[in-house]
Amino acid sequence: MALKIVKGSIDRMFDKNLQDLVRGIRNHKEDEAKYISTCIDEIKQELKQDNIAVKANAVCKLTYLQMLGYDVSWAAFNIVEVMSSSKFTYKRIGYLAASQCFHESTDVIMLTTNQIRKDLSSPNQYDTGVALTGLSCFVTPDLARDLANDIMTLMSHTKPYIRKKAVLIMYKVFLKYPESLRPAFPRLKEKLEDPDPGVQSAAVNVICELARRNPKNYLSLAPLFFKLMTSSTNNWVLIKIIKLFGALTPLEPRLGKKLIEPLTNLIHSTSAMSLLYECVNTVIAVLISLSSGMPNHSASIQLCVQKLRILIEDSDQNLKYLGLLAMSKILKTHPKSVQSHKDLILQCLDDKDESIRLRALDLLYGMVSKKNLMEIVKKLMLHVDKAEGTTYRDELLTKIIDICSQSNYQYITNFEWYISILVELTRLEGTRHGHLIASQMLDVAIRVKAIRAFAVAQMATLLDNAHLLTGNTQRNGICEVLYAAAWICGEFSEHLEDPLSTLEAMLRPKVATLPGHIQAVYVQNAAKLFATVLRGQEGAPADRTVAQETSQLLIDRLPLFVQSANLEVQERASCILQLVKYIQKLQQKDVEVAEEVTALFAGELNPVAPKAQKKVPVPEGLDLDAWINEPPSESESEDEGRKPKGKAVFAKEESKHTKPRYTEVDEKELAKRREVRKAEQANNPFYIKASPSSQKVYQDGVGVEHIPVVQIDLSVPLKVPDQYVKLEEERRQKDKADKKKKDKKKRREKGEKGRRRKGDSGPESEEDITPAHMVDITTEEMPENALPSDDDEKDPNDPHKALDIDLDKPLADSEKKLPVRTHRPDEVLRSPVDDGEGVEVVPELKKKSGKEKKDKKKDKDRKKSKEEKKKKKHKHEEGENLMGAGSEVPVQSEDSNEVAAPPPATTTNEEAAKVSEAPSASTPEAVSGMAVVPPDSEPEEAKDTEPEDTKSSKHKKKKQKKEKEEKEKKKKKKHHHHHHHSDGAGDESVQNGNVEEEEPLPPMSNYALLAENSYIKMMCDIQGNLQDGSQVVVSVIFENKCDSFIKAMEFNVLDSLNSKLQRPEGAGPHDGLTVPFQLPPGISNEARFVFSVQSIVMPQKLKGTLTFIVKTDDSSTHEKLDFKLHFTCTSYLITTPCYSDAYAKLLESGDLKGSSLKLEGVSQPFHHLLARICFHHHFSVVERIGSCASMYSRSIQGHHVCLLVKTADQTVSIDAKCDEPGLLGNVLDEIKLTFSQC
């Protein structure tokens, strides 16, 4: 045998291995493809052999070829073969190849399930590790579903190496199999506190990744992360957590306030730049989320800005870049603090790194003011000159224009300066942004009347020098400017000093080389100029020749344009040519023509608001929604419904509304047009109505800036009939409280969406205008903003959408397909030493109950697991949920139903529902005391589950050792009994050892009598809330003792300084809480109330009152019942599992202070004693040796409490240690009390 192996490997050693392949490829540079194809043939031969070593070698080579771009999917089956080799060496090769080339549609993947499962449970941790690594790359929904349980088990593996990999891969599993998220989440959360930093970091990683996509579901983890943040020293973990907080704060500003301080401390203390940077980023996010104007945070802003300045000044380009990036975030909310660093940012414009320059440019945009605008632009112009590379220069150009034109030219004090800047920019070679400059020129010239003379003069010069711009065909981008120049000169020709020479310049033959749309403008405006020239000559008959020469000039030059290939140019040119010829005839007859010609182009260009069309009132009796013709075929209407912006709709609308002269188009249509227009004219396309001296105009006036728009992209400026414009103007000048018109408008816009209506109904008032603006902005920019909430629209296939799952909701039974719950109790007490056993047992158990559920109510559960909307349904399910949890427990005794409270009732009230998350979301609590059978769940069902349970478990025993299963089951029972307050049938004790021989435990209940009168009895239990270190949950059972109906119960407590009842938002501090149910005679029900506590060191007493109405057949009476709530220190403790190693470490740490207690004359058996401590005081047993046991618990605020309990001769001595001596003292007193009572 050995010989054979050696022989095999000798055969093999002359095979080509990976190194040989690489070497070969490198030696065949010229015919690489050919060489590789022969290699592939060889590989195919090798794959056919039986020797796994040969196959592995072949697969290894294939992995390399895959990297070079060769498709190797044909070898997928061989890869699977190699993966299933028993040797680690080959297995690793196989998994690597699989991770490189398998994907969801690789069909052999389904063959791998069992192999992977086997590898996952391999005794060799590296087999498991390799399988996990591979799986992380090619996990499919099927694999995820089939292996979720196995991986979940690995999350508690003894080896941290496996644990961390298992934790990480869960994220992939969640993505592919979202149903696993809720069942697995509690365990994932536990891993946040894993003793191994690597595992902890992995858990943080996964939760951060989950939370980033659906932050709202993870808000409840904030306290836990907060604790981690203040305790962790691992920078990786810290960065992740801090980033996560950055995502959470926008949802919960209160969290932000809490964060500021620790983050500031970190900023001050850390030396790691990466951490510092993320802290600054999150502080910025916090500051943004806190509603602005919090003066006390200016210090934080200053700190951030200061630190960022240090980053920007650093010689490391990376820090510089990031500093600028973060700075721009601050800029949005706190521009002032950034502005003081203008010098630094300008300096960055000189940086040799283009990315940094671009970042600096972004920043500049927000930093300009009236004072510094000219200076900044001057600097930028210098950079434009220096800039190499057109991309950066174009970027500079757009930035200059953006900066100047922002907020409606807010910062420009001198428009002559701006025009000259624009003219200067036209000298830029090869820019793509001629159009942008042109639209700016038009915009300014049209809207700022005072500037027109200057602008026209500048434009005339431009036209005169047009050859400079068009000289090089390469830079045709800039010739767009001529479009603006020609139009401005024509339209405002009265300002021209020498119209004739401009006219001459516009008719140069060279013009014919310009793009058609520009020529068209040239021709049209030449006519306008002609009119001006004629009028100029009118007064002086002596110069009649000039006029005639001008006509002749046109007649000479226009034929060139008549021949243009461009239709528009041709049409206009021939029109005007004929006109001029006619004029010439008249001139020869000495007829005064100037007036008539001028009349052709007369009329002030009137401003039109962007919404002007829409504002045109609809005449009485015109129904715009009515079809004019028969509705088109259904496909048409379907189309309209689905994508209202479709072309067909456009055309439809257009033709439909041509009849009314003032085209009234529907809202969507208009929005679309607006968008198109905006896209075309990057800048604000409004006119300014009244000109005067510069900038003041924009601020004053009733929405002056809103009024006017002209569609300059038309060849001829759009003119709207005067009557409507006047109407529009009048309206604007009128008081905004002009109700009549508003109403009219409102009526007209009835059908529109709410927010639109708001913007449109009162365009006159400043207040109304601002939102109107915002409406436009949001509707436009939304699609680009990848807001998390947008996901639905953005990408229906986004895997993260499926993970938007409420994790705080208690697990429903339907989710027990991955029944973490079944083995949760193990975890509570089991230390990792036992895990070897657990690993094998647990999956079987899981499947058992999974199958059971599937069999029983598959479809039902499907529906439920989605979302419970109806309260009734919800209630029902909750009941089942608990049933499910107790399904391993024998049927509850009748009397338990009386005392037991039905948690479902609590969920009827929103607030209480929130409370109920506590028990189910956290393992220990779920175990301690909450496993109550609800009274409204039928006992038959309870019995049903039991036999079925055993039955199905029998099915599953094929491979399973019977004893193990049974032992497991008994353990479960133990827990349930143990925690069950009214369990009479309990026959085993708490410990995890072989305790079968020990005596049964007497029934115990944590529910203590709170108050009682002849009508009602209140029992209560107080539990800490693990998720929030300052919350305590009080569960109160109300039992109706009388024969009448009890309703309108109101629960109220007199708050103390330390403890406060949490009331719904908006309720006063003395308002009572309505109990969310009514009680028929003889019925009991449970409600929960949340209290916030500050100090947990001392026990507390709170006085309270329950008021209620007792309703008999004929009358109803108001009653009340006073009670005293006793918050013991015990109630702040939470059963928390602790492994013995961690426990030992804790004791060694020396942070804990000791205290001790002796109890005399305790006659109970030791295990009962322990059970009592566990049950009543929320401890868990860490280790028990003989008559000595160590126990552990933790307070909701994270204090560790350790007990060492020894017993000898009816004397029990308890040595206790805790990091809070006050708390410890009180807990010991309470323990003493417990034992003195029994």
Binding site: A2, I5, S9, M13, F14, L18, Q19, D20, R23, R26, N27, C60, T63, Y64, Q66, M67, G69, Y70, D71, K87, F88, T89, R92, I93, L96, E104, N124, Y126, G129, T133, S136, C137, V139, Y161, L168, Y171, K172, G198, A202, V206, C208, E209, R212, N235, W236, I239, K243, M273, S274, Y277, E278, Q317, N318, L319, Y321, L322, K352, D353, S355, I356
Partner: protein, 193 residues
């Protein structure tokens, strides 16, 4: 999340590609080419971040890279990763390679891409950072290599002998292999933060 990790040389030849999302081989090659194009035209001494991850998953992603001698190490990540953190991670990766290969040079990556994959697998798993502690990574890699060796046992001996023979002319190899592919040492660590 890390979307992809690419290593290629100054000529754009891929030395390692690890995609954490599936792409066809052609797309992968195109991504490598485009990434190389983007990265290679940047000067030394400019920042190591590149927006414009049009390649993988759109604009949410960015490229974070480092250039060591003849090799570019490029990580394509989304916004959940800290930029500086990833830079550190690349450094850890390279240092780990340096330790595992004892003075790593491009040739090591060329001939032992499988080993590089194994090392990477101990650092990043499924696009998420698994371990950042270099010693831990090396411990795990070494332990696995040891296992591999012990598995080979006697049977592995002849193969080892042959490969030793094959590598006899290795000293000449650098000269046989054209251009400056080789000879590249990872710069010594202190120069990095």
């Amino acid at each position: 999340m890390i979307k992809a990790i690419l290593i290629f040389n100054n000529h754009g030849k891929p030395r390692l590609s690890k995609f954490y999302e599936h792409y066809s081989e052609d797309t992968e090659q195109q991504i490598i080419r485009e990434t190389f194009h983007l990265v290679s035209k940047r000067d030394e001494n400019v920042c190591n971040f590149l927006e414009g991850g049009m390649l993988i998953g759109g604009s949410e992603n960015e490229l974070i890279y480092r250039h060591y001698a003849t090799l570019y190490f490029v990580f394509c990540v989304d916004s959940s990763e800290s930029e500086l953190g990833i830079l550190d991670l690349i450094q850890v990766f390279v240092e780990t390679l340096d330790k595992c290969f004892e003075n790593v040079c491009e040739l090591d990556l060329i001939f032992h891409v499988d080993k590089v994959h194994n090392i990477l697998a101990e650092m990043v798993m499924g696009g998420m950072v698994l371990e950042t502690n270099m010693n831990e990574i090396i411990t795990q890699v070494d332990a696995q290599n040891k296992m591999e060796k012990s598995e080979a046992g006697i049977a592995g001996a002849p193969a080892r002998a042959v490969s030793a023979v094959k590598n006899m002319n290795l000293p000449e190899m650098p000269r046989n292999i054209n251009i400056g592919d080789i000879s590249i040492k990872v710069p010594n660590l202190p120069s990095f933060k």
